[in-house]
């Protein structure tokens, strides 16, 4: 059957590529899709990465492959097909007293995408990234064989699949551990800090909290550089809820949902508007302890504004998320903040997070500080981000492949120390490198 040719782009609307899109209901259908061409294929979930990781000449959508295969309510494990959305998982799990072990800031991602990006959440410092909670997976490689992989079985393929950006094969199903919860609520501590030093101290002070992250004002200079609002949270226990909420502890009020129904014009996002927004945000978020808020507002504040990506206009935007090692302290981070404020390239959404220890083949996290910034695509942005890359590399850091649409291959090979080993594993299982993306070509991940 001939596929559908369409223009496809991910969440940041850059790049837009013309591709054949295929889908499947049963794994038996995949061999006839990938077998008929020598061309490159890549699996794609819900398109929430920020770049070209799930874009290729031929795209295999996993969205129809989305059933729950097994659920163990005693031991808290679940096995699902890779196309299921985190939202659907939560809708199913939450009323039964279970939650995802790790979640990023949107629930509109697929399980397969979560594994391919090895996503992290606000609990990375305590509970690591998603791959840490996987029991086993099924992965189809280019020869159309289905491999069962885990930390014990076919461990090399497991490692090259978690964080492997879909280059090791098609993730079919994933079995993983869940987190037991008593309520749908989070007890949140909101702490306003004057500058970068103080927020780093606060991360240290609140490190026993399961969830921590901070919004940071990246335009402020001088003694208030890096002023922040840090959030720390714990799942609320039943006895911590008010009497009325106790009756139905897993039910939350549907929040207000907003929608951005058109692309904003480019003048909407300027240094001035970002500065004004930052001032407003900072002044309205004073230190406030023991607030009880629902999980949706805590984990997914942006999901309540559908199509918020349109705020960045039709040209799209770039997200820049890097991590710098703990040993670097705040040195590299300060240099980057200086560069941003010098150039006046502010970001509405600047999110700072402390990562815990993680040893992995190709996943993004390492122990240290990570900052995520959004920049509209405008004149000079690519050159500017190259300058930031140089600082990140100098200080021993790297950037997140799922958020990348523009870094160059030398920077990738320099900062991902296991790039060579990753390449040899994906090539071992996929002789003719059937699975390629615009990202993998741009970064020469296959080493051709």
């Amino acid at each position: 059957m001939s596929p559908k040719i369409k223009n496809i782009t991910n969440w940041n609307n850059y790049p837009i590529v013309s591709a054949n899109e295929w889908s499947f209901n049963y794994p038996e259908e995949i061999p006839s899709i990938i077998g008929q061409k020598s061309a490159a294929f890549i699996a794609r979930g819900n398109g929430r990465c920020y770049g070209d990781a799930s874009l290729s000449d031929n795209i295999i959508s996993t969205l129809k492959y989305q059933y729950i295969l097994s659920f163990d309510p005693v031991n808290g494990t679940i096995e699902c097909q890779a196309g299921i959305l985190f939202k659907d998982l939560i809708d199913f799990l939450l009323p039964k007293g279970w939650f995802l072990p790790v979640t990023p800031g949107t629930k509109y991602i697929t399980l397969g995408g979560a594994v391919a990006s090895d996503v992290h959440g606000k609990n990375h410092h305590k509970e690591a990234s998603f791959s840490e909670h996987i029991i086993s997976m099924e992965v189809m490689t280019a020869d159309t064989r289905i491999h069962i992989v885990s930390k014990e079985q076919n461990a090399d393929l497991f490692e090259a699949t978690t964080g492997g950006m879909g280059l090791s094969g098609i993730i079919l199903s994933v079995k993983f551990y869940l987190k037991k919860i008593e309520t749908a609520y989070i007890i949140q501590q909101q702490i306003r800090t004057k500058n970068l030093e103080e927020v780093i101290e606060k991360f240290e002070e609140y490190k026993d909290y399961t969830y921590t992250m901070a919004w940071i004002d990246c335009l402020k200079i001088g003694k208030n550089q890096g002023r922040s609002v840090m959030f720390a949270g714990e799942h609320a226990e039943l006895n911590e809820l008010s009497a009325s909420r106790k009756k139905d502890p897993f039910k939350i009020k549907p929040g207000k949902s907003l929608s951005v129904s058109f692309n904003f014009p480019s003048f909407a996002l300027t240094k001035l508007s970002v500065r004004a927004f930052n001032q407003l945000y900072y002044s309205t978020h004073r230190t406030k302890k023991n607030m009880i808020i629902d999980y949706d507002s805590f984990f997914y504040p942006l999901d309540s504004i559908s199509n918020w990506n349109r705020m960045y206009g039709k040209n799209g935007f770039l997200q820049y998320q890097f991590v710098l090692p703990l040993s670097d302290g705040s040195k590299g981070l300060k240099k980057i903040l200086n560069r941003i404020s010098e150039k006046g390239r502010g970001s509405f959404l600047a999110v700072l997070k402390m990562f815990g220890k993680q040893e992995s083949l190709i996943s993004f996290p390492m122990e240290g500080l990570t900052l995520a910034l959004d920049f509209p695509i405008s004149t000079g942005i690519f050159e500017f981000l190259n300058e930031l890359d140089a600082i990140v590399a100098d200080h021993g850091g790297r950037i997140y492949l799922s958020k990348d649409a523009r870094m160059n291959k030398d920077f990738y090979h320099e900062t991902y120390k296991n790039a060579g080993q990753f390449r040899s594993i994906i090539n071992k299982y996929n002789n003719d490198s059937k699975f390629e993306s615009y990202l993998s070509r741009r970064l020469n991940i296959h080493g051709k």
């Binding site: 059957m1 001939s2 596929p3 559908k4 889908s23 209901n25 049963y26 129809k64 059933y67 729950i68 295969l69 097994s70 659920f71 097909q81 199913f92």
Partner: protein
């Protein structure tokens, strides 16, 4: 409420089964290849705590239909039939086997099984029969008249059935979805504003049953579109590239 879904592997059928499972209906899912429904049935059991029965059903094995219906795990209150085959128009023009397959899957098979269902419901004076036909059946067009003519036959059959069963209080609903984003239409470039998703069709069918509708298009725009298409004089219509 007990429901039999024929052709249950289709995207629309699954969307409806999912909706009904959530509402705690008892389901029989019938399909040529029940192996392909196992993961789906497992999902319904886990997600909605609803154990659907799976039964083999071959639409074009007419001789098997009596026994198929007689041996069902329970008598259905509703029978909802989705099966059909779009086929390849160009191939069918030259190849009788393809033409025959299109006619049999969309029309003959439907008549064979619904005859049996109708007899049973007429005796019981109770039931709902839903047949999924198509707007393609409203006027023959060169691009898909094999499929369209079989669906036209089905639409006329369902209308006759409705007329016959009215006095027995059996409700017959004809569904004429326009474009639906499904497996069958995956390689077509369909205009978004008039393309329904399977979930919309499922909700539309349920609403059509509850409101005792005779014919539904689900997306209202299609009623207007088809009105226009039907009102073009044949002398002009025959010259169009449709």
């Amino acid at each position: 409420m007990k429901v039999l879904i024929l052709g249950a592997t289709s995207d629309m059928a699954r969307a409806l089964a999912n909706l009904l499972a959530e509402k705690k209906y008892d389901l029989i899912l019938a399909s040529r290849n029940v192996g392909r429904l196992k993961a789906f049935a497992g999902d319904l059991a886990i997600r909605h705590n609803n154990k659907a029965e799976l039964v083999e059903f071959e639409a074009t094995d007419y001789a098997s239909h009596q026994n198929f219906y007689k041996n069902l795990p329970f008598r259905p209150d509703w029978v909802i039939s989705f099966f059909g085959y779009l086929g390849d128009q160009k191939l069918a023009q030259k190849d009788w086997t393809e033409s025959r397959k299109i006619i049999d899957s969309n029309y003959t098979g439907m008549v064979s099984v619904l005859n049996i269902v109708a007899e049973d419901m007429e005796t019981r004076k109770h039931g709902v029969i839903v047949g999924v036909s198509s707007v393609a059946g409203e006027r023959g067009r060169q691009s898909n008249y094999m499929y369209g003519s079989a669906k036209a036959g089905l639409t006329a059959y369902l209308s006759g059935l409705r007329n016959r069963l009215h006095k027995s209080r059996v409700h017959v609903l004809t569904v004429k979805p326009g474009f639906v984003a499904t497996k069958m239409t995956e390689n077509m470039d369909l205009p978004k504003s008039i393309t329904a998703n399977p979930e919309q069709i499922a909700k539309g069918i349920l609403k059509g049953i509850k409101k005792k509708k005779n014919t539904i298009y689900v997306l209202g725009a299609w009623r207007g579109i088809m009105l226009i298409i039907k009102s073009i004089p044949e002398s002009i219509f025959k010259k169009l590239k449709l």
